[in-house]
Amino acid sequence: MKTGILSIGLVRGLLFQAAGFLAGVAVVTVIRLAFGMGFSAEPAIVLGAFFSAIGFMIGVGAFSGWFANALGKPAIPPEEVEEPSGFKRYLGVSYDHKVIGVQYGMLTIAALFLGGSFALIFRSELVAPGMQLIGLQQFNTLIGLHGMVAIVGMLLGGAALGNFLVPLLIGAKDMAFPRLNAFAFWLAVPAVVLVLSSMAAGGFDTGWTAYPPLSIFANMGMQLFFAGVVVFGWSSVLGALNIVATVLRMRAPGMSLFRMPIFVWGSLATSIIAMTATQLIGLSFQLVMFERLFGMGFFNPANGGNPILFQHLFWFYSHPAVYIFVLPGFAVISELLPVFARKPLFGYRWVAMSSLGIALVGFLVWAHHMFTSGMEEYLRVPFMYTTLLVAVPTGVKFFSWTGTLWEGKIRFTVPMLFVLGAMNVFLLGGLTGPILGTIPTDLHLHDSYFVVGHFHNTMFGGFVFPFIAAVHYWFPKITGRKMSDLLGRITFFILLPSFWIQTLGQMQVGLLGMRRRVADYDTLPEFQTTHIFITVAGFLVGLAFVIFMYNVIRSAMKGEVAVGNVWESRSPEWELLPNPAPKHNYPQPLVVTGDPYDYSLTDTEYVELVPVAGATD
């Protein structure tokens, strides 16, 4: 095994990314000079951005197996590749789905931390009217990056859960395409670097939605932001494709679709959206890139374009995008509630179908973001109805959760606390949804802080709380150790109330008429008092997240050793595997012999390992 800093894939990747960027700049410049056109920074930076992503992938080693295949040389099968042990295996290409899941998870936490930090900077600016800390361009760049980095972080989080859990829960050795899996993860790293590097190129002032015509005229940072998101889109598409193939093709014998653990349904539904709709945000951003580079008239009315077209393309993805991480979040809630209420999941089939229902209806609601945009008048009412329809499958989930809790023997463990927190936070997010989806109220509330409050509710209830619950719950399967119970409880009891203060404060200033994304506001005292509350609560949310991060790192190193089925779950990864879960998961194939959630029955099992003797015909 090689040693030294260049043996770390991540380091090699970043060096190659820098080299790729310079190569892209050089190519454009040489071509332009050869044709007698002078140096121009923007095309050079755009090609450099895409070359830098390819450079990273070459440097980290994500192409090696495919290059061998393309040249007709035998590549080592992914399951036989030697991998470094210890922490180092997380820093380079690994084909083990559990390692990739943890890699996604670490990038998730890093991205959420960064995205949250951006918010705390501009929140500090909003403590008082007038400008104190940062300039207007910085403020705008920070709100845009806060949005996109946090959303990317949550998308990564959904992928983290899916990659780590799906093969374990369906009794597979690994994903359907291990090489593609590693490729999809590593593509996300240069993408995040590109999005962040937009700060160095003058930032951008459009917010994360990047509406033209403004984005056509914004600073150069806009192009790096676009390039990063386009690259990340491919990461998302390929990762999701892999999960769909895994669920459809790799299930253990006897595991029919309706006998899968419910999380797998959530992951499947989510992946269907990510695999298809993501192409539209990639395309819409590329079209703006072309408009800037070649003067193409897509969105600028002065050149025959139509800015409303961008909004259609953008929201066709960006509304369902929310479900890409909320559905795995919901699925974590549905997976954990039966374990801690010691009862079957209420209405399993309905819950499974509601995930698909949300995913499919989610394709038909995008224009509810455009009620005030001046789009075609006749589209408004149909999109209002489809939007309200989403409440039906979501309501099914809430009924199932309350039905599961009803008369259960509830155990208030840390994961359960976060699950309950998720439910009550999402409830407000869900109830404010129809208010915004109804045209008359939306005309009043559109683009106000009320939207910000609603959105953060759905994000925290739908993703952040369930994600923290999942990390606490499956931590022993990753590290063989438990997370600290005390620190977990402290995290929860800081996070929940401070989040409520933050989100109710946002809704209140929104109802008073405060616009979102503005750096300055009226000197009226009712605005400032609430803004101080929001900012202080925001810092407490950040504190809770830092405690969570500390808990993860500390427990990974010296947490209490976890033995056996820590939560008395019926799920295969707890019933059949030691902590941490070994490489290639199950030593023998497993068969499904019962229901996943029959906690009231003591004499049945969900899964059994097939004895080796019985494995020969």
Partner: protein, 200 residues
Amino acid sequence: MSVQPYPAETHPVDAHPVENLRHRERTNRLGLWLFILSDSFVFGALLFTRFYLLGNNRPELIQWLGLVVTVVLLASSFFMNRAEVQMSLGNRQGFLRNTLVTIVLGSLFLIGVVGVEWQVAHFGPADGAQGAIFYTMTGFHAFHVFTGVIFLSLVYRNAKKGLYSAEHHWPVEAAAVYWHFVDLVWIFFYPALYLIGTAL
């Protein structure tokens, strides 16, 4: 909830999925079709863009040139199909010949679109919505044809080295399906760009 009886196990439990080559190929096939599904959203969105911005108008283009490149591309799909059939019959020479014709026709299509049509069109990419749409749609499609040509060239080279058999030639199948898909996209793009509506 009552205990329900479960049907007796029908799957062979000894064949772990990953070790089964047949299973592997079927999984690969699913993966490829999922990719095509995903990619068709890009082309679908481009078509939406075209009708959203231009509606019942179309760019003014050289009709006979469009017809020629279309015929060339459709013919390539015919030879692609023959190549795959020859491979599954175990006729390597027949496969190589037909693949070579496919590669040549695909390259002619690229020369026709990018090398000729782009140069002689009455408008540039910056000339309003029609320029934006024409160059982007043909550009995205040409890029796919280009990647298909590279894919086919690699398959050609590896087939020459004798890496595929009549039973196992997954890369050949993948390249063929991808090629037909790119062709199918053109069957939608050609009328959208050349035939539907009145010329601007």
